[in-house]
């Protein structure tokens, strides 16, 4: 076998209260795509951040070698210079700059006068995107791109400085299946260009297809290693990841679908970027108590825009909303919560949690009225309810006074889910509820959703993972071109019929 290009040995990283990595060693061989797998909070991102220099040399024990040279990264700039490029779990683009500016940010070519050579900037950016075989206007502001396009821009950015090692931390959590397919091809292409990859994802099928080898971490410890040539066994792998057997992925609960709880008629919603255009033209549907309604559609079909208008976060241009038999004229989040709606938004970092607050304060944000008397927060009531949910959702943190920013992505999601479970729910809107969540937790969340439905709570669910949507929902509304393309019942719905309706053919 060849010599490894990257050797990580005996890495231990502690944060106050947690050991994120405990004596982890692994190797990366040239031209290899290595998967690092594990549950939320297993320490994957932490390990990658050590490799990329975010946690500088000295803040951890153990050593990193590239080929045979010992690396002591003081900052990301050092690791970049050593040939490591990283795509972070959270997108880190400057939304108001153009695509080209983002790709070359901090590395702008200069003219002889010392000014930025803009012509060169656009040319280089174009070339970088060319390499990925994607067509994106380099002059477009990043804000106007879909999350998947943004992801591609960050990949182009990472590739711009010709890395030897590319680290991708959950790159596909915001991508659709088709885009994931494209990304895989791109990665295979890079493999031929002699780039080794470390790939993190919670999607097993994707990893099985793409990766040559996989390393599994649990609780910061190295657990096992499998290679493609031996063949992957998903039960073994899942067991290694979550430390127990996973019985059923989509647990079934007995439930009765009741009467209608919410109905919209002729909803019309403004396009978020294109002024004067409507992303939703005319949509009507209803949802009933205990029903899980799936909203399907391609990226850009306006699913998220529609639900945030229903919830009252953004204004709708036209249409009527009926909730619990009453006509609601101007929904606001405050009113919606009082009526019994909950809304888990798509972008956790942007509007999911308040990052200056701890777990407990984030959890109780939507029930401040319930846990207070005369405007004063009843501390013991807050403690009691947050303790209950902290344990029930098995949130991995030293305690509930931990700042939410120090949690892993999946655990942050659990905190936000807890926030809504605490309210008096009648309808819960879930926009990509399992984005970036590990298998074990996914199964837990599916169970939670089913339990809610069994209690007679209606659920509207959006997911770009079709298998998940199909397994969970009782009925499907497929959106496309601003209208309802199809309404499918459980027995008519499969991936083919939904995709066909979504692509409007």
């Amino acid at each position: 076998m060849q010599n490894p290009i990257l050797t990580v040995s005996h890495i231990t990283k502690r944060f106050t209260g947690t050991t994120a990595l405990d004596n982890v060693s692994l190797e990366l061989y040239p031209q290899e795509i290595l998967a690092v797998m594990g549950e939320n909070g297993a320490g994957k991102s932490t390990l990658m951040k050590i490799l990329s220099g975010i946690y500088p040399y000295g803040s951890y024990d153990g050593e990193i070698k590239i080929q045979d040279t010992l690396c002591r990264f003081k900052s990301p700039a050092y690791s970049e210079a050593a040939g490591i490029a990283m795509i972070y779990q959270e997108l880190n683009l400057e939304l108001d700059l153009t695509v080209a500016e983002n790709i070359l940010l901090g590395r702008y070519p200069k003219t002889k006068m010392g000014l930025i050579n803009w012509e060169q900037v656009y040319q280089d950016a174009g070339a970088a995107l060319e390499r990925l075989q994607v067509k994106i206007d380099v002059h477009a502001p990043v804000r106007s791109l879909s999350p998947s396009m943004q992801q591609l821009v960050s990949i182009a950015r990472a590739l711009y400085c010709n890395p030897k090692i590319l680290i991708l931390d959950e790159p596909t959590s915001v991508l659709t299946e088709k885009e994931t397919e494209t990304l895989m091809q791109i990665l295979h292409g890079l493999q031929k260009q002699n780039i080794a990859c470390i790939y993190i994802s919670h999607k097993l099928d994707e990893v099985f297809k793409l990766c040559d080898r996989m390393v599994i971490l649990r609780d910061g410890k190295w657990i096992s290693e499998y290679s493609k040539s031996q063949g992957y066994q998903s039960t073994r792998i899942i067991e290694d990841m979550i430390g127990r057997r996973l019985d059923v992925m989509y647990p079934k609960t007995k439930k009765k679908i009741g009467e209608e709880i919410m109905r919209i008629e002729h909803f019309c919603v403004q396009h978020p970027f294109a002024y004067g255009k409507h992303i939703i033209e005319d949509v009507s549907f209803s949802v009933r108590k205990g029903e899980i309604l799936g909203l399907a559609g391609l990226v850009g079909a306006g699913r998220s825009e529609l639900v945030s208008a229903i919830y009252g976060l953004t204004d709708s241009i036209g249409g009527t909303l009926y909730f619990d038999g009453k006509k609601i004229t101007h929904p606001t989040p405050e009113r919606s919560i009082r009526m019994g709606m909950g809304f888990l938004s798509e972008d956790r970092k942007k509007n999911g949690f308040v990052w200056t607050m701890d777990i407990e304060q984030n959890m109780t944000l939507a029930i401040l009225k319930e846990i207070s008397q005369g405007g004063f927060i009843n501390q013991s009531r807050e403690d009691k309810i947050s303790d209950e949910y902290f344990d029930r959702l098995r949130i991995k943190a030293p305690d509930k006074k931990t700042l939410i920013t120090s949690l892993s992505g999946g655990n942050q999601q659990k905190v936000i889910i807890a926030k809504w479970l605490m309210t008096k729910l009648k309808l819960l809107i879930l926009d990509e509820p399992t984005r970036g969540i590990d298998v074990g937790t996914k199964a837990e969340i599916y169970k939670l959703i089913n339990d809610l439905a069994a209690q007679g709570i209606a659920v509207i669910m959006i997911s770009s993972e079709l298998p998940e949507l199909i397994a969970m929902c009782d009925r499907f509304i497929v959106l496309g071109k601003g209208v309802v393309q199809a309404e499918l019942s459980k027995k008519d719905a499969d991936e083919v019929s939904i995709m066909r309706a979504a692509s409007c053919t």
Binding site: I54, Y88, E90, N92, P333, F343, T356, M357, Q361, A366
Partner: protein, 333 residues
């Protein structure tokens, strides 16, 4: 190799130190007081301490409001003008023969109205508070000048001027317990009530707060109204102390107040801060002013001092933020 244990202990200590900015302010404050006392023992004479506390009182009242404003990631530059407005309105009312209590109520009420206007404009237009309150600073000052034509309201009736001379145990001026009372109330509101929680949430992440059903507009309206009302009230107390309502009073006051909050650990980016810290910041500002005089350092150096301390405080705040942000790293340059 350096000893790992030593390093860890230091890390934990420094983290504790950074997290509790109140305690670091206290430490620095005490240290500073000791030095000044050594240079000039007059510093801790009862008279001087009372003096410091009295002048702190006027700032502290406004600092309580400003802390709330800053925590919502806002800013209020108009407090100096409102301070003058409160004292003028109240002064005019008393001299016109309206009873002292009612005059004070009217003065504070005018401040409240002014603050509501600020809050309303910020909420409805979405223009950054910096711009709006800068405009309102000029509007407020302009109104004061127009009403008084630049002439102080003087003399003020005895019933009014004797107010500030009331003292507790014959030595502590009334402004001290009054301001402490307001600060304690502010502290309780911020740390114990749903309103306080909303204020923190808005500053931390306004969009997340909105989704969670927090009424952003109402909270901001209350915060700005409260701050202006407190500024007007503080101005009234000042008029009572001076025996005259000066149209130019409170010029530059907003900077002193903001400075006190920031030194006390309130983040200029919103989301974090406590009234206790800000109150200590206010004491700190006053101690420096006072001590420079006692140490016979020219007052011209004062502003330089404040500037340096302010920047140091902001740097510390940024570092704290960086610690918190680690998880959601933004890589630039």
């Amino acid at each position: 190799m350096e000893s790992q244990g030593e390093k860890k202990r230091f890390g934990r200590l420094s983290q504790w130190f950074l997290r509790k900015q109140e305690s670091s302010v206290i430490l620095v404050l005490i240290l500073y007081c000791v030095i000044v006392t050594i240079v000039n023992p007059v510093f801790i004479s009862a008279n001087n301490v009372v003096n410091i506390l009295r002048s702190t009182g006027f700032t502290l009242i406004v600092v309580v409001g400003m802390t709330l404003v800053l925590i919502t990631a806002g800013l209020d530059l108009s407090v100096g003008s409102v301070f003058a407005m409160g004292s003028i309105v109240c002064g005019i009312c008393c001299t016109a023969g309206i009873s002292v209590w009612l005059s004070m109520l009217i003065g504070t009420g005018v401040g409240l109205l002014f603050g509501m206007t600020i809050g309303f404009t910020i909420v409805k237009t979405g223009i950054p508070p910096l711009m709006i309150t800068l405009g309102m600073q000029y509007i407020g000052r302009g109104m004061v000048s127009a009403i008084t034509k630049g002439v102080p309201v003087y003399p003020l009736p005895d019933g009014f001027t004797s107010l500030e001379k009331i003292s507790l145990f014959g030595i502590i001026p009334i402004i001290v317990p009054v301001s402490i009372l307001i600060a304690v109330a502010g502290h309780i509101v911020l740390s114990r009530t749903t309103f306080g929680r909303s204020v923190y949430a808005i500053g931390g992440n306004q969009e997340a707060a909105k989704i969670s059903g927090i009424n952003i507009d109402r909270t901001k309206m209350i915060v700005y109204s409260l701050t202006s009302a407190l500024a007007a009230f503080s101005g009234i107390m000042m008029a009572s102390r001076l025996g005259s309502a000066e149209p130019s009073t409170g010029t530059g006051f907003e900077m002193k107040v903001i400075c006190a909050c920031i030194i006390g650990g309130t983040s200029s980016f919103g989301g974090t801060g406590t009234v206790l810290g800000a109150a200590l910041g206010a004491v700190f500002m006053e101690v420096i002013t006072n001590s420079l005089t006692l140490m016979k350092i020219s007052v011209y150096w004062q502003n330089l001092f404040f500037g340096v301390i302010l920047i140091a405080a902001v740097l510390l705040d940024q570092y704290k933020r960086a610690l918190m942000m680690r998880q959601s790293v933004k890589v630039k340059e």
